[in-house]
Symmetry: C2
């Protein structure tokens, strides 16, 4: 009976992986500053434990002894995931894993310094080294003859190939550039202004989180510098941040992380790999759906407006329509994380293009800043004034995250596909959202996404959930409709 | 070079042990309730990892290859501790370890129910089972011919033997009973009464913690049901509790945990076993010293009185003398955790007597409640009204903690020894405490206790620190002097 033995091994490994995740959460949300050196040792020791478990030579023996035809599809997926983790652990030489971890830690440190000085040249050597290491790792993982970039992408988006992703994502560019240009000719609506006390913002954020289904008995909310969501099943913690001048920041950051958390709280099993999230793109679809399609949609603002006046007193905006317009102000800017829905995917497309070329070796690091700036101007119509507002703005590449950026846009694409299908299945969707009674929406996502684990690759899962092959069309239609109405295009 | 390899192994094991400690802290202070089932798996997986590391067959090989004569005393201690942990991991059969863990979890559950119903008979079978398991474990660990109880005691108080502990602890009983009886004839001073807002209590507790040297950059304070201290070196977290009717509760609980934390923050190395605390008795001496000798002493109340009126407004007690008397009210009661300094050790002596007899098999579980009650009346002069106020009041035995209780009294004994020596070395001690400027006191403890690790057994460490063999005399003298003055005996 190799299957129960393998499954028990996987379960224990997953439990230890959750411990490593808790260490990260604690480091950002709780740990005192002088704990950093010990924490590095603790995290390193946990990584070594996990590596040893994934590299265990009994894993391929157990797998070989199991007849795939006699087991359930779920267990076939568990087997595949065990093999995948084993390959990852055994194909990458320990020396390379160590060097990459060190380069990531060093790279981030240098990136912080370079960003502060807005000087890309300071960062270039570290980036070059990281690209070499990522290419080396990709070569260890890639099947012969396949693309190096795809081997990196596959870690975040299983089964995805850039040759397929490219036309999907690139199809966003022309309509988004056109939309951006049309909006630029119009006058922006009034912004929300004032001072909004942190306590009241956090209280409102928690109220919203509870209304849309976040289970506080299976999670908690804390504040950090860079918010994230961590954990699974019965213990899914989110973090948020507060800017007293901008209540949308805390609100939509929280709703975004709650979207991730709802997916994780709905996992069908806390430990089995088959029950894990389908892909980062699908994870992002859940956060974007709640943040944008729900949170930034007109129906929700009917509930939000009185909730905000209760929380903060009278606003400078008179009624839900004005608040809705303020929450959806479009402004061409340089920074991805501050981008509105119209600009966001243009930021991603730029990074996706550049990182593929960097990994392929067709773009040299020395030419990166200039290429960034010229392509930014092509898509955004603005000249980048300095590297801090350009090529140095994101942490990702400094820590070796190549192949991650496209999952953000996949999330937006999938969120729009899901929203379209949900509106078809739930004709009262808007009325429910208007009352912030969204149980039926959550149930729809639970049934079709959250409980499905990773048995299917993302496009197949979305197709199964919606009845349609995922394309960018629903996202484009959603954005064009929404912003045409808002900006009277 | 076996030594560096062994030390690296020990360091990684210690780092993983700290991760397990963080899981426990998180469970009490942060974890959402629905995370419990996953946490049990996570903790179990970590325990298995730690067990495998301690049982690693290479450890005795490494040790055998090292020439003890050529290494430092610190490394000889590291070797001994590695051997000790290896013995513990290999002598106890996995089946016994599992059964004990299960019986502890089950035992605690049954104890909670029995306590709620004040019915010892409900708990007796679980206790009987736990005693069998502890005897079995003790038999695995004990050197041939030695006492089973001592094998359990040794886990908390390395090197201690009950034959030596017995006269030391028993010497407390006659003077404490006499003191208790004399005080009982006097009128108790006025108590502190009122309502004291939780926020103000926590703020005061944090102020006091900072004044006596707790490093908030290397720790944090949270509230829990049963306070504790966890961690070491750069990350030492304490927990406390608040009762709005009784500000002494939060205050002295915090000072007690800070005492533990100062010891841990002063550890000479975060990972090496030789740098770990000497014994539970010495750990408790640090908490008791700050809680009682400092916190409940007359000089500190000169600082505390205005701090409390600042925090809470006017008190019902007029001046430091009245506050000092209220903080040291003596009342014969049934519950150990609520006991004053005069009664506390009498509670411990009762448990120490009974648990030795339970492990030796000279006292049957069926006779425990009656024996408890008659001996309690002997020492306290009160008849126990029900098991909830008697034999069912402590969690310890339900989770298998036998041999732990005496460390509380050892802590009190050692604290008094240390205070006596410190007063000799620091003639301005009272003036410093009166101003809550206690850096010199902390430095004295750092030099003599905190930085010494576990190279010496507790009695030798205390003798080295104080210049005198530890006895109960300083504690008795301290209590008789203090309470004679307070109660005009």
């Amino acid at each position: 009976m190799s299957l129960p033995v393998l499954l028990d091994h996987l379960k224990q490994t997953a439990a230890l992986g959750q411990v490593a995740g808790l260490l990260s959460w604690d480091q950002e949300a709780m740990m005192p500053q002088r704990g950093a050196a010990q924490r590095a040792e603790q995290s390193g020791a946990m990584a070594a434990v996990l590596h040893r478990r994934n590299a265990d030579p009994r894993i391929p023996e157990w797998i070989a002894a199991i007849d795939r035809e006699t087991i359930s599809p779920v267990d076939r997926c568990n087997l595949d995931e065990a093999q995948r983790a084993h390959d990852q652990a055994t194909r990458i030489p320990p020396r390379l894993a160590e060097e990459t971890a060190k380069a990531a830690s060093e790279g981030q440190r240098i990136w912080v310094a370079a960003q502060a000085q807005k000087d890309f040249a300071l960062f270039a050597p570290a980036l070059r080294r990281m690209i070499e290491l990522r290419r080396e790792e990709a070569a260890c993982l890639a099947e012969p003859g396949t693309d190096l970039y795809d081997a990196l992408l596959d870690q975040f988006e299983p089964g995805a190939r850039s040759a397929e992703l490219l036309p999907l994502l690139e199809s966003l560019r022309p309509p988004l550039v056109a939309l951006r240009e049309k909006i630029a000719e119009k006058t922006a609506p009034a912004a929300l202004t004032g001072t909004f006390p942190a306590e009241a913002q956090l209280q409102l954020a928690k109220t919203v989180a509870g209304r849309i289904g976040y289970d506080f008995d299976a999670g908690r909310i804390d504040t950090v510098v860079h918010p994230f969501c961590s954990g699974t099943a019965g213990d899914v913690r989110i973090t948020t941040r507060v800017d007293e001048a901008d209540p949308f920041n805390c609100l939509y950051c929280t709703v975004h992380e709650v979207g991730h958390a709802l997916y994780a709280q709905g996992a069908p099993d806390p430990f089995l790999p088959a029950a894990d999230h389908c892909s980062m793109g699908v994870h992002e679809s859940q956060s974007r759906f709640w943040e944008n399609q729900i949170g930034r949609g007109r129906p929700f603002v009917d509930w939000l407006y009185p909730a905000m006046t209760d929380a903060f007193g009278a606003l400078n905006l008179d009624g839900p329509d004005a608040l809705y317009a303020a929450a959806n102000r479009v402004q061409t800017g340089f920074i991805r994380t501050k981008a509105d829905e119209v600009h966001y995917n243009l930021h991603i497309l730029l990074r996706f293009e550049l990182e593929r070329e960097l990994i392929a070796g067709t773009l040299d690091v020395d030419d990166l800043e200039e290429t960034w700036n010229s392509r930014f101007e092509r898509d955004f119509g603005l000249a980048v004034p300095d590297a801090g507002l350009g090529v140095l703005q994101d942490v990702h590449w400094s820590i070796g995250l190549f192949g991650y950026f496209p999952t953000y846009s996949l999330g937006n694409i999938y969120a729009a596909c899901l929203d379209k299908a949900m509106r078809r299945d739930l004709p009262d969707r808007d009325a429910m959202v208007r009352a912030a009674e969204t149980d039926a929406l959550l149930e729809w996502l639970r049934d079709r996404i959250h409980t499905k684990g990773r048995l299917l690759h993302a496009p197949a899962l979305i197709e199964q959930a919606t009845g349609e092959t995922p394309t960018a069309a629903p996202l484009i239609a959603y954005l064009e409709t929404k912003f045409s109405a808002l900006y009277d295009l």
